[in-house]
């Protein structure tokens, strides 16, 4: 990385410009490194829907809670998901009531739990975007190979390009450029984003997560916008191949099928989720267990949907800081450390951008 890392934003911003960082890891890095304090006032930087925990729908947590309430069932998942509130509390609350809910740091640990404890039905609650879905696919294939009859997956996986299509088509949200998620792009490569510049004229940059990589990414977005030549450009070449990780995508496509999926605050988005294919039904928790049909959303007053699409900033939500805080979150954007509400609360609550 060249040494000139703090760019001269001022000259490149000739009109009010709105950029969005899609990924929660970018959101946190931008706050932590004080990048917002470098931005000229004509430049607005919004946080997008790129935190898988934040976009997990309440109905999905309710399904997980209903699994956790079954006798003989162990629910395993990543730690972030435990505190996301469903209609009747969170998985952490369920654990407090005696449910067997365990944290894993990898899908493979969930299968190991099942192989070690054959008398338990072990369900892996699988959140995550394209970065994470291939590893779930690899574990489903391993479960099939090892004929693990006490292991199943509740897929909450979601896909990034379909939600970006929804954002791009939203007339209320005029985004000029997107800082694309670096690790989703490791799997996808550049092509799945090409509709953004071609159809919607949106500048796109794939960037890494260090401060200078983000600054470079923002500068390149402003260059594309200034010269009126939007494209998809990767500045994260050490990890992102132009064609992505083909093998990871093949595993994902072998195990999963795109389906319509509910996103917290955004509603159902066509072909934006992943369900297990028919041949993997024995490992599909929705086939193995009776699950509740999706109930009506409880009205909490939480404005997650507007925050995830950048229409409101977190402090503009009426619940922000009172009563919704990281210690007592009402919505998932405050639960995940990479949620935009949690990032605002931690780094910007006292008025310093």
């Amino acid at each position: 990385m060249p040494e000139r890392t703090v760019p001269f934003f001022g000259g490149l911003v000739s009109r009010p410009t709105t950029l969005m960082e899609v990924c929660g890891t970018h959101t946190v890095s931008i706050f932590r490194n004080g990048i917002r304090s470098l931005l000229p006032k004509e430049l607005t930087l919004l946080s997008g829907p790129g935190c898988p925990v934040c976009v997990t729908d309440q109905s999905e947590i309710d399904a997980a809670l209903s699994l956790a309430s079954l006798s003989g069932v162990t629910v395993t998942t990543f730690g972030d998901l435990l505190r996301v509130p469903g209609r009747d509390g969170s998985l952490l609350d369920a654990r407090g009531r005696g449910a067997d809910v365990r944290i894993v740091t990898s899908a493979s640990q969930a299968l190991e739990t099942a192989l070690r404890e054959p008398e338990q039905q072990v369900v892996f609650l699988a959140p995550g975007f394209e970065t994470t879905a291939p590893s779930t696919a690899a574990v489903v294939l391993e479960a099939a190979e090892k004929k693990a009859t006490n292991f199943s997956v509740l897929s909450l996986h979601k896909l990034v390009p379909p939600v970006l299509r929804v954002l791009a088509a939203d007339p209320e949200l005029a985004v000029d450029g997107l800082l694309l998620p670096g690790h989703v792009s490791v799997i996808l490569g550049e092509a799945p984003y090409s509709f953004l510049p071609e159809r919607y004229g949106i500048a796109c940059v794939i960037a890494g997560f260090e401060a200078e990589e983000i600054l470079f990414g923002l500068t390149e977005l402003l260059r594309q916008i200034h010269t009126n030549r939007p494209t998809v450009r990767s500045l994260y070449g050490k990890a992102v191949r132009p064609g992505g990780n083909v093998r990871a995508r093949e595993l994902m496509e072998r195990v999963f099928l795109p389906v319509d999926a509910p996103w917290r605050g955004l509603g159902v988005i066509p072909s934006s989720g992943l369900a297990l294919r028919k041949e993997f039904r024995p490992w599909d928790a929705t086939q193995r267990f009776p699950l509740p049909t999706i109930p009506a959303q409880e009205e909490t007053g939480c404005r997650c949907g507007d925050i995830l699409t950048g229409k409101l900033t977190p402090p503009e939500c009426p619940l922000f800081d009172n009563p919704c805080t990281p210690a007592s979150p009402v919505g998932p954007c405050m639960v995940s450390s990479e949620g935009s509400c949690a990032a605002h609360y931690r780094y910007a609550l006292r008025g310093t951008p």
């Binding site: 990385m1 060249p2 000139r4 760019p7 001269f8 001022g10 000259g11 490149l12 000739s14 990924c23 929660g24 890891t25 304090s37 000229p40 790129g50 935190c51 898988p52 925990v53 990543f78 972030d80 740091t105 990898s106 899908a107 493979s108 640990q109 995550g128 975007f129 970065t131 994470t132 291939p134 590893s135 690899a138 391993e142 670096g182 690790h183 989703v184 490791v186 799997i187 470079f216 500068t219 390149e220 260059r223 200034h226 010269t227 500045l235 070449g237 050490k238 990890a239 992102v240 191949r241 990780n245 093998r247 990871a248 595993l251 995940s336 990479e338 006292r350 008025g351 310093t352 951008p353």
Partner: protein
């Protein structure tokens, strides 16, 4: 949640697992998502799985993009001194806000 950490492979354990090191920590990592790995490879690890092999960045391409950006900036700001006058009011605004907060 899509956090991924660079590791270096120190041993191949079996056809889908390796041992890899990041700093002083050594962990087992699944390699199912990569077509081939060998000892010494630098890998990007997410949730226990290697999602890609890291390669040396092509510095020349990034350098040429910087040149392009600087050339563009030069056409926009003929007087370099004005850079500072443009930037510093923003900074003092920021510090005033901090003081008032």
């Amino acid at each position: 949640m899509c956090l991924a950490i660079p590791h270096r492979i120190v041993a191949i354990t079996d056809e889908r697992t390796c041992r890899a090191r990041a700093g002083t920590a050594e962990v087992l990592v699944r390699t199912d998502l990569l077509s081939s790995v060998q000892i010494g490879d630098s890998i990007l690890v997410h949730a226990g799985f290697a999602i890609e092999k890291l390669q040396e960045e092509d510095g020349r391409e990034l350098e040429s993009l910087w040149e392009e950006i600087r050339a563009l900036e030069a056409t926009l700001s003929p007087e370099p001194v004005s850079d500072f006058t443009d930037i510093s009011p923003g900074m003092s605004d920021g510090s005033e806000r901090m003081n008032h907060a």
